[in-house]
């Protein structure tokens, strides 16, 4: 069996190493050495500003963890998270894939209008959501409850998805239901998931069709622009979702507010009553962070404020009190969306002295952060609950405060399925 090895030897001896081979080999070897040295010399960060997430920490070493291999796995993640020039490498791989003609990179569609839209993953926790939402409605004694599940750009801007993208395809196919039935492997669309949850809600929980309202606006805008519905050339002030972030814009939130008003028999204030202001033109959002490639450009944040507002915004966890739901200090940082309602707090209490009475509770995720301001003109007090951090369940608080007559549950479909806050809704 030595024959193979022997042949190889003679071949190598007849082909000596060339100068170029030598130079390229040593260059790459040098690069490897430099990066490994740099890895140990550079200061490790706990948090990535550009990716807006906590980076992996060095794992705690225990025998159990060594035995099941989780230490080595964690070390691998640690190496990737703290690798020198990580951001630059992310740009390199995104650019390489984009140039190769890819229309979906790292779970993000490169939409036809140049925006970034996240792929809708198969939902895992629909039943749990149904149970939690129902529990909240059942527990709430006096107030009226309504549920607003906001579809994301993947559904609303489906015409802008790349040609033949599976999500667009699934939305448009009429034979989907039969396919799902025949082949078992059901991967419902976002809208089907919303419908499924809505259909399972108890009597006490009114459901709000925000998808219909958002789609109507897409069509309305398209007609006004005299173009197709693929979102090309829509000005930032008419965009419902950010180009580089998974949130809806203030305008999108306004459309949602209109849908809520209609469902609740309230007359919405026209948008023209508000003072709008462009507060940022260099917002690079969470979807941008998944790709980290400057090619995709930045977003505009437009904020709006009612001239009559006389506000007091209280953050009970820190005791901080301000007079605005907006926090301009975030606009100079990476996480600009925290401009709305100051990022993460278990509870926020906003009072508007321009309105005499009434109180509403909003049980929500970050989508509501730019929505809440529109409620301020209808209620004296707005209680905002972030169930990821608020312990004990909002219904207990709501029942203890009889002035609360209205409860709005507001989540987006993109993150709710994996949201750790679901368990806190009751």
């Amino acid at each position: 069996m030595n024959t193979n090895g022997q042949e190889k030897k003679t071949e190598e001896e007849t082909q000596p190493v060339t100068m170029t081979e030598r130079v390229s080999a040593y260059l790459i070897a040098l690069m490897i050495l430099c990066f490994s040295i740099a890895f140990f010399l550079t200061k490790k960060q706990d948090f990535s500003e550009s990716e807006n997430r906590t980076l992996a920490k060095l794992p705690q070493i225990t025998w159990e963890k060594i035995r099941n291999g989780s230490v080595t796995e964690a070390l691998g993640t640690y190496a990737a998270d703290h690798f020198p020039m990580r951001n630059e490498f992310l740009s390199i791989i995104t650019e390489a894939e984009r140039l190769s003609g890819r229309k979906e990179i790292n779970g993000v569609y490169l939409a036809q209008d140049g925006s970034l839209i996240e792929v809708y993953d198969a939902p895992q926790n629909t039943d749990k959501q149904i149970a939690q939402f129902s529990k909240l409605a059942e527990n709430t004694e006096h107030a009226h409850c309504s549920l607003m599940l906001v579809p994301t750009a993947v559904s609303v801007y489906r015409d802008a998805l790349p040609q033949y993208a599976p999500d667009a395809d699934a939305l448009l196919r009429s034979d989907r239901q039969t396919l799902v039935a025949e082949q078992g492997a059901a991967r419902p669309t976002q809208l089907q998931t919303i419908q499924q949850i809505y259909a399972a809600m108890p009597e006490k929980m009114q459901t709000i069709d925000v998808y219909g309202a958002l789609r109507a606006d897409v069509q309305w805008t398209a007609e006004a622009m005299g173009g197709a519905e693929d979102g090309q050339g829509v000005p930032p002030s008419r965009r419902l979702f950010y180009r580089t972030d998974h949130h809806w814009t203030v305008y999108g939130a306004y459309i949602g507010y209109q849908a809520w008003c209609e469902a609740r028999g309230i007359t919405p204030l026209p948008l023209t009553d508000y003072v709008t202001e462009t507060v940022s033109e260099d917002f690079r959002g969470t979807i941008y962070s998944k790709l980290n490639d400057p090619y995709f450009g930045a977003d505009t944040i437009i904020s709006c404020r009612h001239p009559d507002w006389r506000l007091q915004v209280l953050y009970p966890d820190t005791g901080e009190v301000t007079d605005s739901p907006y926090n301009p200090e975030y606009l100079t940082q990476k996480d600009q969306y925290s401009y709305f309602l100051n990022n993460i707090h278990p509870m926020v209490i906003i009072t508007n002295d321009a309105v005499e009475s009434g109180a509403v509770a909003v049980v929500k995720d970050s989508y509501a952060n730019c929505f809440v301001p529109f409620l301020l003109n209808h209620y004296h007090t707005v209680y905002v609950f972030d169930t990821r951090y608020y312990k004990g369940g909002p219904s207990k608080f709501i029942n203890e405060h009889p002035e609360i007559t209205e409860v709005l549950v507001l989540y987006n479909m993109n993150t709710i399925d994996s949201d750790t806050g679901i368990g806190g809704i009751y």
Partner: protein
């Protein structure tokens, strides 16, 4: 640990190489041994004991055969003991669940599944270490007296967990004394790097495409076939790249491992395919099963029996599941048909028809290989034939093929020996063009290396298929 990972490339490999080149003489083997055990322990800290046991059994068997194997009977007893221990370990750790599953299905007495986790690389090192015992028995290799040297051979990290299946006779001399040279480092590195790129930039990318096609619902016939082609390409690039990296690393250390893949997808028949695909495995089965059974120097009936045995076992070696057995037998039947029915006629066909014949059979075969759930296999194969009423052509094909077009093209083209052809052409093209091509090649290599690192830093998809075996 896997070669295509940041910890390996940036920490393990540089640290190892520096120490390896600094130390001389026997210390080199010691460095190699220590790092090999670390390499294995990185993923399997407990099962390392199993590898130590398995290799010790065969080492001991060699010594016993030499010292006390005075009669054929004694030698046979020693060999039988070694084989029984090794194959029992393999059977328990790889096939226990499978066997209990069959038992439960066939008999009314249900037993609980043992639920044993497969130790990484057990199929590879068992075959290596067993081949040593058999070779000692047959007098084809000198008995090794130093356990550490023998263990260095079995545990040698370049080829430990996914082949090639290197026999002790191939590397015995080099284990004791080998020429470690600077040009060997350069040559080995130039073998390792393209392997790394084929793994990260082709196998991982095409593999991601296969995963999304496999998970898609209601795909058309043509997309279903594209899916199987993707799996074939993924498996080929994944596995052959691993062998390339192993051979390259071996070369850097002064070893010469046998070639394992010679453009198998460019085969012109299934017989040809098996001369090119996972060569170290097929020659193992040839030398240790097929030929001892009499090979083809027997009557037709016995020859067919021998083929059945070899291909049943080849299938089973790949995994404890019926689909692997089916895949092995599928290839066995086609080989028999080529031998006895249409082999000669096939050779007379135009070359491109021969290629088409081989690739269709191979791709279809990997369809059997990839689905260990027979129900899922059935559903997918129905789609291949359009039986559920799926269209022959659907626009989703544009999505899958379009998104990965450059990668698919590169994968298809590089599966043929275009690179040696190009090198050869440049050799004859004169000094100027030859140097220009070499410079461009070097630049490309450095650029692609950066893309590889970028891809590993993002680290979304990086499995090694053959680790399951």
């Amino acid at each position: 640990m896997v070669f295509s990972s940041l910890p390996f490339l940036f920490f393990f490999l540089p640290a190892f190489l520096i120490l390896y080149y600094v130390f001389h003489g026997r210390a080199k083997n010691f460095v190699l041994l220590v790092f090999s055990l670390l390499f294995y322990a990185w993923g399997e800290p407990v099962y390392i004991l199993l590898m130590l046991l398995s290799s010790f059994v065969d080492y001991l068997d060699g010594i016993l055969q030499e010292k006390y194997g005075t009669t054929l009977l004694r030698k046979r007893i020693f060999l039988a003991c070694a084989l029984i221990i090794n194959f029992s370990l393999l059977a328990y750790f790889k096939y226990a669940d499978f066997a209990v599953g069959i038992w439960n299905r066939l008999t009314p007495w249900d037993a609980a599944l043992p639920g044993v986790a497969l130790p990484v690389g057990i199929s590879f090192y068992t075959f290596q270490t067993v081949s040593y015992s058999i070779d000692v028995y047959k007098g084809r290799v000198k008995v090794e007296h130093n356990y550490l040297d023998y263990l260095t051979y079995v545990s040698m990290f370049p080829q430990l967990i996914a082949g090639p299946i290197v026999r002790f006779s191939t590397v015995q001399e080099e284990i004791h004394s080998r020429k470690v040279s600077e040009s060997g480092f350069v040559q080995g590195f130039h073998r390792f790097l393209p392997g790394l790129m084929r793994k990260v930039l082709i196998a991982n990318q095409i593999g991601a495409l296969w995963d999304s096609i496999r998970a898609a619902e209601g795909i058309s016939v043509i997309t279903a076939w594209l899916g199987l082609l993707c799996f074939t390409l993924q498996l080929y690039y994944d596995f052959s790249a691993y062998s390339d990296m192993a051979i390259g690393l071996g070369r850097m250390l002064g070893f010469h491992f046998p070639e394992n893949f010679i453009y198998p997808l460019s085969a012109t028949s299934i017989t040809d395919f098996w001369r090119r695909w996972h060569i170290s495995l097929s020659t193992w089965f040839r030398d240790y099963i097929y030929i001892p059974l009499g090979g083809n120097r027997v009557g037709v009936t016995k020859h067919l029996r021998n083929m059945f045995a070899v291909w049943f076992l080849t299938g089973l070696w790949h995994g404890a599941s019926w689909n692997f057995v089916m895949w092995g037998l599928y290839h066995g039947i086609l080989l028999a048909l080529e031998k006895y029915v249409w082999g000669k006629g096939l050779a007379k066909l135009p070359k491109f028809l021969q290629h088409l014949y081989a690739i269709v059979i191979v791709v279809f075969g990997f369809g059997i290989f990839t689905f260990d759930d027979l129900g899922e296999m059935g559903r997918y194969f129905m789609q291949l034939a359009g039986i559920p009423g799926n269209a022959f052509f659907g626009t989703e094909f544009f999505w899958y093929a379009g998104n990965y077009l450059p990668f698919l093209l590169a994968a298809c083209v590089l599966a043929f020996p275009v690179w040696p052809w190009f090198r050869n052409k440049m050799e004859k093209a004169g000094v100027y063009r030859k140097n220009l091509a070499a410079m461009c090649g070097a630049l490309l290599l450095i650029t692609l290396f950066l893309v590889v690192v970028a891809s590993l830093v993002r680290d979304t998809y990086n499995p090694f298929l053959y680790f399951r075996f």
